[in-house]
Subunit: 218 residues, 2 copies
């Protein structure tokens, strides 16, 4: 019974997501859904990303957390408009839904934006199941999380259009085989681009920034 109910919830979300996608297309805004475990460095990666793309692409950000405005405050330092969703008002939901994105997107003047980045709740499972009407999905995995995560959480890597392997500055101090991690990602999602970078040192950002520019301008 639980599975049937979950299916219905997912179907209702799906139709709202399609409505969002049509709306964003009308407004000519590209929507990027960024997902990962808690603590993989999504926010820091996006802070640095905004700094690099803001001169070229007019960008807004929606950030989801169960509690706190910490991430919104950090992201706003870039100068981008940021809307924080706190899901503790929605029963502490562990993922963003199309419904939440519809509401939050009304707080932007989308005619003045090229790109809307959505930083999802830190969770490597549930956000992968909820389409929010995005145009592309990115999963962030950090090198401290272990090489086997793509095999253990395959759906997240299958639904993503690109992956970031973050915190490569820590590689010298870890028993982490980056090649094995990337091989595991390609095993569950052949051909997916993987950008190895360090949000801390800003190493490796060029191909990632080029990929975003390509997505937004094509």
């Amino acid at each position: 019974m639980e599975i049937t109910i979950q299916k219905k919830i997912l179907e209702a979300n799906e139709s709202k997501a399609e409505r969002n996608r049509r709306y964003f297309k009308d407004k000519n805004v590209f929507v990027l859904n960024v997902m990962s475990s808690p603590g993989s460095g999504k926010t820091e990666t996006l802070c640095k990303t905004l700094k690099m793309i803001m001169p070229k692409i007019r960008t807004g950000v929606i950030v989801g957390d169960i509690c706190t405005r910490n991430d919104a405050d950090r992201l706003e330092a870039s100068g981008a408009k940021v809307v924080q969703i706190n899901t503790d008002q929605f029963g502490g939901d562990c993922h963003l839904t199309a419904n939440m994105i519809e509401k939050a997107s009304k707080e932007f003047d989308l005619d003045t934006l090229d790109l809307l980045i959505v930083e999802n709740i830190g969770n490597l499972v549930c956000p992968a199941e909820f389409d929010i009407g995005e145009n592309a999905r990115v999963v962030v995995l950090s090198v401290t999380e272990g090489e086997d995560k793509p095999l253990k959480y395959p759906l997240m890597f299958q639904v993503s259009d690109a992956a970031i392997l973050n915190k490569i500055d820590l590689l010298p101090y870890l028993d982490f085989n980056a090649k094995e991690a990337v091989d595991n990602m390609k095993k569950v999602h052949p051909g997916m681009p993987v950008f190895a970078l360090s949000a801390k040192t800003e190493d490796g950002f060029t191909p990632w920034i080029e990929w975003i520019l390509y997505c937004v301008n094509r």
Copy 2:
């Protein structure tokens, strides 16, 4: 409506969890539910923990993952009996339920055990909402995940009886304020014991092992 359905699912789980708890009490087995984000080092911490407690406490392990038997294989090296639950058979559930634990626990001869450790699915949100009939809960946070996680995911820290701050061997290479992280844990759960340790180097394990022994023998 979604929230009402979730409430009913949680209530049904709650009554099964109570039944599990009575059953474990009859069998005189202490059940420890270990939770965290993916990649915080739960499995490595438990591998080292088993090595240290197996001579003193007869221990079994149930390990939950969406896919793979990787963790079970690692944990079995300790000599403990390990039962792997894969939730992809249950629609890819992002948490263990009382129902799954009831089934898995039947695979042990509980009369020969003092302690049953449950390694939950890697997820800092949903497992906190699902009682499985355990006697105590432990949350593992690693120092690479950021000091603010207890404030952003408060429920997990509120429902836990103890916390492990793992990967302290990496502190010299991070901008991580361990005192702030512990303060944030105590803010959301005053008085909760926090064990700072490194599963890699085995530093800091003594108070954690003593706490387990105290729980099992009291």
